[in-house]
């Protein structure tokens, strides 16, 4: 089957943004308007910061902004953080992602790390409280505005994510089964991103290697852990449907700039991330590990690329 011919890089970025729609809609269904507010804040911040930096660097602002990469990074970060996080959180995160994750390296195509994940880790380390407070209920637009901009003292029922609960509850209860590690909302959101990812595969905007090996890495390592001790470790299906697994597999690990670029390398790259996520979830200090896993494996990309060069005709 021949590869399709894409009209432009901006077109590819737009396809990725469209493909996010299903997952975002699912998140909206469960958590309400906060999701859209975060995305809006993030996109505006991204455009402002990127334009300012491009102007500082003396580059053509319009043509670089229109490649859509800054907007995409902002959306990915906005849907990764709690939708009730204060307004400045996303702005700080996006600014860090754009400036330190991308522009300081020379702009699009030169960044060794996934900018959105760099922003996420920055936020997670700097503002742990804001980054781990998730709400439980659907919020209307005015409620969301109130919470995010801290306009009035309203009470939002908030809590931790399922992975958080499991991590914190396990030492007390001693068995995963008693904790009920299922979450309807996260399962639906993950399903949305899975479908969006399949759309990208169908349009051939992304190659199958990274998502497939990523999920294989998650399945194999979580299966081995679960078989070794069913009380201590999450079953495989929960690993797949909790946290940011599907978003990571189809939208974050597949960022071509920071991923391995050879076919074999992509498989190794995806697999290592999948395994690392399960290890961080099971043994690490943080409930979820997508961002750390992606950044750590990003570092190995030059080596992977070097070692997995395809066979050249006649050699």
């Amino acid at each position: 089957m021949m590869a399709p011919i894409f009209s432009s890089t901006s077109w590819m970025m737009r396809q990725v943004i469209y493909a996010l729609a299903l997952g975002v809609m699912a998140a909206y269904y469960f958590f309400g308007w906060g999701v859209f507010l975060q995305i809006t804040l993030g996109v505006v911040a991204a455009i402002v910061v990127e334009s300012a930096f491009l102007a500082l660097r003396g580059r053509d602002v319009i043509s670089s902004i229109s490649d859509g990469s800054a907007v995409l990074s902002a959306i990915l970060l906005a849907i990764s953080i709690p939708s009730i996080a204060p307004w400045w959180v996303i702005i700080v995160g996006v600014s860090f992602a754009i400036i330190f994750g991308k522009q300081l390296y020379g702009g699009l195509g030169n960044n060794p790390f996934n900018p959105a994940m760099l922003g996420y880790v920055f936020l997670l380390i700097s503002y742990p409280l804001q980054m781990s407070t998730w709400q439980v209920d659907f919020l209307s637009l005015s409620q969301a505005l109130d919470v995010i901009f801290d306009l009035s003292n309203i009470d939002v029922i908030s809590g931790a994510t399922k992975l958080d609960e499991v991590k914190n509850g396990l030492p007390l209860s001693g068995s995963i089964q008693q904790l009920d590690p299922h979450s309807i909302s996260q399962a639906w959101i993950n399903a949305g991103f899975l479908l969006g990812g399949l759309y990208l595969l169908l349009r051939k905007v992304i190659f199958w290697h990274i998502p497939a090996s990523f999920l294989a890495g998650v399945v194999i390592s979580s299966m081995l852990l679960w078989v070794s001790n069913t009380d201590l470790y999450l079953p495989t299906q929960n690993h797949l449907m909790l946290g940011g697994t599907m978003l990571g597999a189809f939208f974050i690990a597949t960022d071509p700039v920071s991923a391995s670029t050879t076919p074999k390398g992509r498989i190794i790259y995806g697999f290592l991330i999948g395994v690392l996520i399960v290890i961080i979830r099971a043994f690490g200090g943080y409930p979820d590990g997508i961002a750390f896993a992606v950044l750590l494996i990003n570092m190995t990309v030059p080596l992977i690329d070097r070692l997995t060069q395809p066979k050249v005709f006649g050699q």
Binding site: M2, A3, I5, F6, S7, S8, T9, S10, W11, M12, S63, S64, D67, S69, G107, L108, G109, N110, F207, P256, V257, A259, T261, T262, P263, R266, D305, Q309, P310, K311, V312, F313, G314, Q315
Partner: protein
């Protein structure tokens, strides 16, 4: 169908299709320009300004094994021998012979026509091919006689009937209208190289050409093989892979594996040379693009692009001109340049906005289509930063510059240009390094020589001193002896004097 295939490549439909492929005879040009620069060096003119020349008369040649004589393609008077703009990337001028037509097209008479080629020796046939000015007409322009005499133990002759580039139809037309001559040409080539079999490769979308050739092929040593219509099937090594499943090693040539590849048009030219005793004075050129009515024209070599384009009813818009093909061709600024033996096609396109070049996001579309299996996204990085050594370790040298990567790049990066630039830079650096090495060697030898001379001189001086000293010591001793003797004599004298008193 071909039994095998190769990875990568892209299917590109002819962007300017025609309902029926034809060959239109272009009228005789009023003036022709024949560039003297060849693969084997600059040819020496053997006519002077003002001479009358016949069609088919040799006007210039080189000495050496790569020599391919240049023939006048019209009869007329030599107008000038000077520098003219030719079809080259650089746009530089090059030495050319200009001939003004007398409009009569008088041919140099050939006597020995009509002899069965089987009566000739292989050497004689190769010589005829050489004398007739036949070179590879597919685009590379390698002298055919060199290729035919170079090969040892050739087992397969491949006749390349795949168009090198999408949109080019000149070989298709030739196969449709001259199938008998082509089959005969293949037989001549088979006779020369002694191969057991010949395979004519045709793309599977050229059914009329396939049928025409099949109808005239009664030789069981010749088979006609259809290959998938995929761009870069026409590249020699990839075609051999698709037909024979043989991968020619990097840095080696098809002839090293006992395979000879010849282009369809070259085969026809061989037929004309051997059977009709006609030197190569014309070729079929595709004129296509959205600025003209696409068609094939048989035109005399040396006629200007302009002459031919005017035949193809161009529209009145501003045009971009490209020679060769949409993928590997080169843009030409002027159309007052001559058509050469390797001018397969002229693209005349309405001027259009070029897409904006965006940043490389390493999406990998390019490595998917690279027929050689390179990683253009990595090579680009190194070519751009001029890290030639790094680029070479990513197999820069194996790039065939087919521009498949350019075609699919969503960021519209002219990748093949970067690679050809990096190759040129590498060549230049190697040359410079060689020069530096030679200079250093020379310098070191000079230092060594000076040092050696100094030592030798010091030694010589020391020796001289020593011998001088010895001489002086000798002389001194001699003097001593003399004075001693004189003293003795004096003493004796004194004694004698005393006793006498």
């Amino acid at each position: 169908m071909a039994d095998y295939s190769f990875n990568g490549g892209i299917v590109i439909k002819n962007p300017y299709p025609v309902s029926k492929v034809e060959i239109i005879q272009a009228p005789l040009p009023k003036k022709i320009v024949l560039p003297l620069q060849q693969l084997g060096g600059q040819a020496k003119p053997c006519v002077s300004v003002g001479d009358y020349v016949f069609t088919g008369q040799v006007v210039a040649s080189t000495k050496g094994s790569f020599d391919v004589p240049i023939h006048a393609s019209i009869s007329g008077v030599v107008l000038s021998i000077d520098k003219q703009v030719i079809a080259h990337k650089s746009g530089l001028k090059s030495q050319c012979i200009t001939i003004e037509s007398d409009g009569k097209d008088k041919w140099l008479v050939n006597k020995n026509s009509g002899v069965d080629f089987l009566h000739y020796s292989k050497q004689a046939l190769v010589e005829i091919i050489q004398k007739s000015g036949v070179i590879g007409l597919g685009g590379a322009g390698f002298p055919t006689h060199v290729k035919m005499s170079k090969v040892l133990d050739c087992h397969t002759l491949i006749i390349n009937g795949t168009e090198c580039e999408p949109g080019v139809m000149c070989d298709d037309a030739l196969m449709q209208f001259h199938p008998r001559d082509i089959i005969r040409g293949v037989e001549i080539l088979l006779h020369i190289c002694g191969a057991k079999r010949a395979i004519i490769a045709i793309e599977d979308d050229k059914q009329s050409a396939y049928q025409a050739l099949s109808m005239f092929n009664h030789n069981d040593r010749i088979s006609i093989n259809q290959v998938p219509t995929k761009y870069t099937s026409g590249a020699e090594k990839l075609l051999i892979k698709a037909l024979l499943n043989v991968e020619i090693s990097s840095g080696k040539f098809a002839v090293d594996e006992g395979v000879i590849c010849q282009n369809i048009a070259t085969t026809k030219a061989v037929f004309d040379a051997v059977i009709n005793h006609k030197p190569l004075v014309s070729r079929i050129v595709t004129v296509t693009g959205d600025g003209v009515k696409p068609n094939n024209f048989e035109v005399r070599l040396g006629a200007s692009f302009k002459h031919l384009i005017s035949m193809a009813s161009p529209n009145n818009k501003a045009h971009d001109y490209r020679m060769g093909g949409m993928m590997m061709g080169i843009d030409v600024a002027s159309i007052d340049i001559p058509i050469g033996k390797t001018t397969t096609a002229i693209f005349v396109n309405n001027q259009a906005q070029k897409p904006i070049v965006q940043a490389c996001i390493r999406c990998g579309q390019c490595s998917e289509v690279c027929p050689v299996g390179l990683l253009p996204q990595q090579l680009y990085w190194y070519a751009k930063s001029k890290s030639i050594e790094k680029a070479l370790s990513y197999n820069l040298a194996d790039c065939i510059e087919c521009a498949c990567c350019d075609y699919v790049c969503p960021s519209h990066i002219p990748l093949a240009n970067y690679f050809s630039f990096a190759k040129a830079l590498n060549k230049q650096q190697t040359r410079e390094q060689d020069r530096i090495n030679t200079a250093r060697e020379r310098f070191e030898f000079r230092e060594y020589r000076l040092e050696r001379n100094k030592l030798e001189r010091a030694q010589m001086m020391a020796n001289k001193k020593k011998s001088l000293k010895e001489k002086m010591a000798n002389e001194h001793a001699q003097k001593q002896k003399i004075t001693e003797a004189m003293q003795r004599v004096q003493q004796a004298k004194d004694k004698n004097d005393g006793t006498n008193i």
